[in-house]
Amino acid sequence: MTYFLELFFSGLTRGSIYALIALGYTMVYGSIGLINFAHGEIYMIGAFTALIAASVLSGWGLNPVLVLVLSALAAMIWAAAYGVTVERIAYRPLRQAPRLSPLISAIGMSMVLQNFVLLAQTPDFVPFPSLIPKFAFLAPYRDILGSSGLVILVTTAVAMLLLIFLIKGTKLGCAMRAVAQDKEMALLLGIDVDRVISATFAIGSVLAGLGGVLIASHIGQINFAIGFLAGIKAFTAAVLGGVGSVPGAVLGGLILGWTESFATGYVSSDYEDVFAFVLLVLILIFRPSGLLGRRVNRKV
C-alpha cells in the first residue's frame, strides 16, 4: 500500500508539472491554432533563470526560502519576456501565412533557444541548489511524499486556480476567450487582438517558467536539453486532454504523470517513455479530439 501511495504521489507531482506546461500549449493553440514547439524551451529558460538568480541571491546570504521565492519570480518574469518576444518575432509576422509556416518557425525557435543556452551556459548538467526546506511534519510520510513534492502540488494547484479565475473572472480572460472564438469579431469590437495574444503567451510562459523552477528544485540538476522531453511530454498531456481545453490540459497532465509513475513502478523504469507515448498513440487512434476536447465541426 505504501508503495502504491508513493507511486500515486510521484505520479501526481510529475503530472502537475506536465499540466503546468501543457496549459501553455493549450492556451496558445486555443487562441492562434499553433502548436508552440518552443514552449518547452521557455520552461528550460525558466529553470536557468532561477539557477542564476538563486546563485546571486544565495551569495548575498539570504534565507533559502526567500531565495526560492525571488528566483521563482525572476524565472516567471524572464520566461514571460521570452515567450512574448518569441511570439513577436517568430509567429506574428506569419499570422496570415499557411499553417505549416509558423509550425516550422516554432521548431526553428526551439533549436535557436536550446543552442543559445548551450553556448551561453554549458553542455553539462549543472546542479540546482536545494532551496526547499525539509518539513518536519512530513517526516513520517517521507517514503510517500517529500517536501519538494508537497511544494509542487500546492504551488501548481494555486497557479491553476489563479489561471481559472483569470480566464473566467477578469476582463482580460473574457477578451482571451473572445479572441479564441472569433478573432475578426473581437477586432471589430475594439479589442486589440495582438495585445491579447501577447498576454496569452505571457501567461503560458509564466506557468512554464514556474514549472521549470519547481522541477529543477525537485530533481536537483538541469541542462540546456531538459526542455525538449518536457515539452514533448506536456504536448502529449495537452493532446490527451484535448488541445485547446484548459481543464483538459490539467487532466491530461495528471493521467500522463500517473501512467508513467505506475509503469515505472510496476513494470520497469526503462519503459517510462514508452508507456507515455503508447498512451498518446492510443488517444490519437480512439479519441483524436482528446478526452475533453470538443469534436470540431467548424464552418469554413
Binding site: L162, L166, T170, K171, L172, G173, C174, A175, R177, A178, Q181, D182, E184, M185, A186, L187, L188, L189, G190, I191, D192, V193, A199, A202, I203
Partner: protein, 265 residues
C-alpha cells in the same frame, strides 16, 4: 436633419478584389441621428461596403471621413478594425456572429472593453481602480440588456438563445462599444412579421434615446420604407440612385434593377 458637415462622409470609395470591382465610385453621407438604408440586389456590394467602413478590407480607393461634433475630422480608411470601433462605428452581421460559448452578459461586456483599458498586470494584481472599472462594465452591460429585454437571460450561453433574441444580443454588443453610427447588416433576416415590427420599434428607440445614426442594409422593403430618412440603391458595385423613400419608390432605374424583379417587394 441638422445642417453643416455630415457625420460620415464617404467619397469615391472603391474596393477591388483582383480584377473584380466590388465597389466603385461610391459617395455617401450620413448625418447625425439619421436612419439611412442601403439596398440593392444580392452581390451589389453592400456588405463589402460595410467591410470597408469597418476596416476589415482596406479600401482600394476613396476617402472615409468621420466628423464627430467637437472633434477634429478623422480619416478612417487604412485604420485597423479595432481603431475604427474606438472612433465610434459598430456593426452587426447578416449571419449572426456572437461568441457562442460565452454567456449573454459576457458577449455584451466584450463590447465594453474598448472603452475601458486595464493592462495584463492590472488584470492579475487587481488594484481597486481595476475592480471599479469591471463593476462599471458589468452594470453598463446589464443596462444594455435591460434596454433590449434580455436582462433575465444574462447568464444563458449565447448559443442557447432563440434566433430572434440573438439578433438583439448582437445589437446590444454593438451598442456596448458606444458607437455614434450603428451599421446593421440585414437585421430583419429570418424574423417573422411580429418580430420585424418589434425590431422597427427597437431601431427607432435607439435613435431617439441614444441619438444614434443608423445605416441599414435590408431586403425587407416594408421595413426600409417605414424607417429610413434616406435610401441609397446599389447595383453591380455602383450607386444607381439615392433619395427619400418616396423618390426611390418612383425611380425607374431602381424599379428596373431591383424592385422590378420581385413584385412582392
Amino acid at each position: 436633419m441638422s445642417s453643416g458637415e455630415p457625420l460620415l462622409k464617404v467619397q469615391d470609395l472603391g474596393m477591388d478584389f483582383g480584377g473584380l470591382k466590388a465597389v466603385r465610385g461610391l459617395d455617401l453621407e450620413v448625418r447625425a441621428g439619421e436612419i439611412v438604408a442601403l439596398i440593392g440586389p444580392n452581390g451589389a456590394g453592400k456588405t463589402t461596403f460595410f467591410n470597408c467602413l469597418t476596416g476589415i478590407y482596406p479600401p482600394s480607393a476613396g476617402e472615409i471621413v468621420l466628423n464627430r461634433p467637437g472633434q477634429p475630422p478623422r480619416r478612417l480608411n487604412g485604420l485597423k478594425p479595432n481603431r475604427i470601433t474606438e472612433c465610434g462605428l459598430a456593426r452587426t452581421f447578416q449571419n449572426i456572429r456572437l461568441f457562442p460559448e460565452m454567456t449573454v452578459i459576457e458577449n455584451v461586456m466584450i463590447g465594453c472593453h474598448c472603452r475601458h483599458r486595464a493592462g495584463i498586470l492590472g488584470a492579475i494584481l487587481r488594484p481597486s481602480a481595476v475592480r471599479r472599472e469591471e463593476r462599471i462594465i458589468v452594470e453598463g452591460s446589464y443596462r444594455i440588456l435591460a434596454e433590449l429585454g434580455l436582462a433575465e437571460l444574462a447568464d444563458l450561453a449565447a448559443k442557447n438563445l432563440p434566433y430572434g433574441l440573438q439578433r438583439y444580443l448582437e445589437i446590444g454588443r454593438a451598442l456596448a462599444t458606444e458607437p455614434v453610427i450603428l451599421l446593421l447588416d440585414e437585421p430583419a433576416a429570418g424574423l417573422n412579421i411580429t418580430e420585424t415590427a418589434a425590431l422597427d420599434a427597437c431601431i427607432l428607440r435607439l435613435r431617439e434615446q441614444r441619438g444614434l445614426a443608423i445605416v441599414l442594409i435590408e431586403h425587407d422593403m416594408r421595413l426600409v420604407m417605414r424607417l429610413s430618412d434616406r435610401i441609397y440603391v446599389m447595383d453591380h458595385g455602383e450607386l444607381i440612385a439615392s433619395g427619400a423613400p418616396a423618390e426611390i419608390r418612383a425611380n425607374p432605374a431602381v424599379i428596373a434593377a431591383y424592385l422590378g424583379e420581385d413584385d412582392a417587394a
